[in-house]
């Protein structure tokens, strides 16, 4: 039973970055812009979030307040970085996959360059722990308290809150409806007075905010608030894209998909703690491959009937109305 508690407690901080970034990808793609730059956006957000933590570390502020402030920094930086994508994709009608790839390549190089020149290392090391041993009160509830309110991070609750907000924006507001229409049939949307360009900028911008926050949460929950230009976010941005496709571009399905991948990854990294898997004596590397291989298997089975937003990847051309 302790193993199960351990697995669940460790799955959640991994699932939250995947969830947030995949939700970001959903906003972007449902507005019609393929966002392959999520990996870069995550790293950008994580870098500035960690930089902020690095400079504010000694202050007497409460640890969790620092987390919230750094989250805001990460969100703003993610937003700014995503604007590079939406400028190229919406205004310049550039190839969205290529632009995204360029943005993914740019940021690790910049981080390595500046970290090596100013910190003499490959990244930023803060070693700041945002870990919560036990949430007062809630942590004492039997079973549930142990599952969800012990050995965790504030990021988990913020992530769930964002999921609720994102779902409401997506399905229950005028903005959400307009955004979705731009990803399906932008010409029709334009003909009823929706500004497709603005909607697409907004979609990419939201993905920037969520991607930046997700990147910082990755650094907090998985990397001990450190970030490194070499390993970056270890393909989490790409995994998030797979999560989004597996989740069929829908918020709640994305949550399930994120939990599934996060569980596999946690399992892969805690083999030594699970007696019966440890006894099998399989090379650890197999387990490290597991999330990626599982992604492939899942996509192989779901892609035949997967329905991507119809107009994604196509620059909007008013003359095709």
């Amino acid at each position: 039973m302790d193993t199960l508690y351990y697995l669940i407690q460790n799955t959640l901080p991994v699932a939250i970055p995947l969830l947030l970034v995949a939700l970001g990808g959903m906003f972007s793609e449902r507005s019609g812009v393929i966002n392959i730059a999520l990996e870069g956006i995550m790293l950008f957000g994580a870098f500035f979030g960690c930089l902020f933590v690095y400079y504010i570390k000694g202050s007497p502020m409460d640890v969790q307040i620092i987390l919230l402030l750094a989250m805001a920094v990460a969100a703003v930086s993610g937003l700014l970085y995503s604007m590079l994508l939406s400028f190229a994709a919406v205004n310049m009608k550039a190839d969205q996959t290529i632009t995204g790839t360029a943005l993914n390549m740019l940021i690790p190089a910049v981080i390595l360059l500046f970290s090596k020149m100013f910190f003499s290392s490959d990244g930023i090391t803060t070693d700041m722990s945002f870990y919560i041993k036990k949430v007062p009160g809630l942590g004492d509830i039997p079973v549930l308290g142990k599952l969800f309110f012990q050995n965790t991070y504030l990021t988990v609750y913020i992530g769930i809150l964002f999921l609720v907000i994102a779902t409401i924006i997506f399905y229950k507001t005028k903005f959400g409806l307009r955004l979705r229409s731009c990803g399906e049939h932008p010409q029709a949307a334009d003909s009823v007075g929706i500004n497709v360009y603005v909607m697409r900028h907004a979609g990419v911008g939201l993905s920037g905010i969520l991607g930046g926050i997700g990147g910082f949460f990755y650094a907090v929950g998985i990397m001990n608030s450190n970030i490194n230009g070499h390993t970056g976010v270890a393909g989490f941005g790409f995994l998030a894209l797979a999560v989004m496709i597996f989740g069929q571009w829908k918020p709640l399905k994305i949550l399930l998909a994120a939990l599934f991948f996060a569980f596999l990854r946690t399992l892969a990294y805690s083999i030594a703690l699970i007696p019966f898997l440890d006894a099998l004596n399989i090379n650890q590397t197999f387990y490290k491959m597991l999330p990626y291989a599982a992604t492939m298997v899942v996509l192989a089975f779901t892609s035949k009937k997967s329905r991507a937003p119809k107009a994604e990847g196509i620059p909007y051309d008013m003359s095709q109305r």
Partner: protein
């Protein structure tokens, strides 16, 4: 009459691709300079000079380092002609490297045949790793971008694991592979202090062959037609699925060659060789291949030149460390070049329009 000729040249597709590439390179370099200036204003000028002209003194190395990225560039560019984005060149490259290493260590072949066999093995390794995303795309409708990214990770972990598990290949105390036997190292071209070897010649020949395949064969025609319009080519009776698989397999084979060329290159120090370190990092040369392909407008001949160019500024970037800069500055420049080349064509048409307007007013 003469002006008529110039117009025809400037209007041609190849020319506008060329000027678009130049524009992207220019903007990339300007951005690189700004970054250098921000990092260290007093050294920025001398450092930037190194980036621009440092490669001159090391032309042997320029050709040597251009070889692998020329091959990964072909891997990306060839698939791009069919509208497939092969972001998995890294994994294919690593696989090619592993297959070449395996033949190098485990097979005992006479000198003269050994390195040829290792190169072919490398090609097979890359081909297999390109074939899988091709099959996923053609038969299961899985986006090749996601598949090839996943296979970058799977391939990297797999190769690291296989190498670490092989006592003949791996020296665990040094966390790298052992030195390859001499018989499997590629014949050097004999330029002092440089590892430039016969593979650059093979690479250029392969690029020319691909050029012929693309422009003079039915397969090449079908491939390009599918790239232009998937539905029209299917309507015309072209077998899209078969072509997707074939294209990805060939693209993978190119990257596999690149991996083999990189790991089998002779060392400048006698009695040693190139080595592979299994440290769970995805091969950067695969991603540099994307830059090479885009800059070369996906044309095999263009890719030869863009690979040489990228290798040239990379040498300069390494030398810029004399002024306290880090070689990553070049990765920044390359990324910016790709960013701008994605919409350089668009900017180009804007510039041409402005230019034409200006001319009309003059008249």
């Amino acid at each position: 009459m003469q002006s008529f000729d110039i117009k025809r040249v400037t209007k041609s597709k190849g020319f506008s691709a060329f000027t678009a590439a130049l524009l992207a390179i220019f903007l990339g370099l300007v951005f690189g300079f700004i970054i250098m200036f921000a990092a260290s204003p007093e050294n920025s000028l001398s450092g930037f000079q190194m980036v621009l002209f440092g490669g001159m003194g090391r032309l042997g190395d320029v050709f040597y380092f251009a070889t692998p990225i020329l091959m990964t560039g072909l891997a990306v560019g060839f698939a791009f002609k069919m509208g497939l984005f092969n972001i998995g060149a890294s994994g294919q490259y690593t696989m090619g490297m592993f297959f070449a290493l395996y033949v190098g260590f485990m097979w005992d072949l006479p000198a003269g045949i050994h390195w040829v066999a290792a190169i072919i093995a490398g090609m097979v390794g890359g081909l297999l790793w390109g074939l899988i995303p091709g099959i996923f795309k053609a038969l299961l409708n899985v986006n090749e971008v996601i598949t090839s990214i996943m296979f970058n990770y799977i391939g990297m972990y797999l190769v690291d694991m296989l190498i670490q598990g092989n006592a003949k290949m791996y020296i665990s105390t040094k966390t790298r592979t052992a030195y390859l036997p001499d018989s499997v190292q590629l014949p050097a071209l004999g330029i002092a202090n440089s590892s430039v070897n016969v593979s650059i010649i093979i690479a250029i020949i392969i690029a020319v062959i691909l050029f012929i395949v693309l422009n003079k064969t039915t397969f090449g025609y079908e491939l390009k037609a599918t790239g232009f319009n998937k539905h029209a080519s299917a309507y015309a009776g072209m077998n899209g699925k078969r072509n997707i698989i074939l294209t990805m397999a060939i693209a993978g084979a190119m990257a596999g060659f690149g991996g083999a060329f990189a790991i089998l290159a002779p060392s400048t120090i006698l009695g040693s060789s190139m080595t592979y370190e299994p440290i769970n990092v995805i091969a950067a040369n695969g991603f540099n291949g994307i830059a090479v392909a885009l800059l070369g407008n996906s044309s095999p001949v263009g890719i030869i030149f863009s690979a040489l160019f990228i290798s040239y500024i990379q040498r300069g970037g390494t030398l810029a460390s004399l002024f306290g800069f880090k070689p990553e500055i070049i990765d920044v420049v390359i990324a910016v070049i790709i960013y701008f080349s994605a919409f350089a064509m668009f900017m180009n048409t804007v510039v041409v329009k402005l230019f034409k307007k200006h001319k009309k007013e003059e008249v």
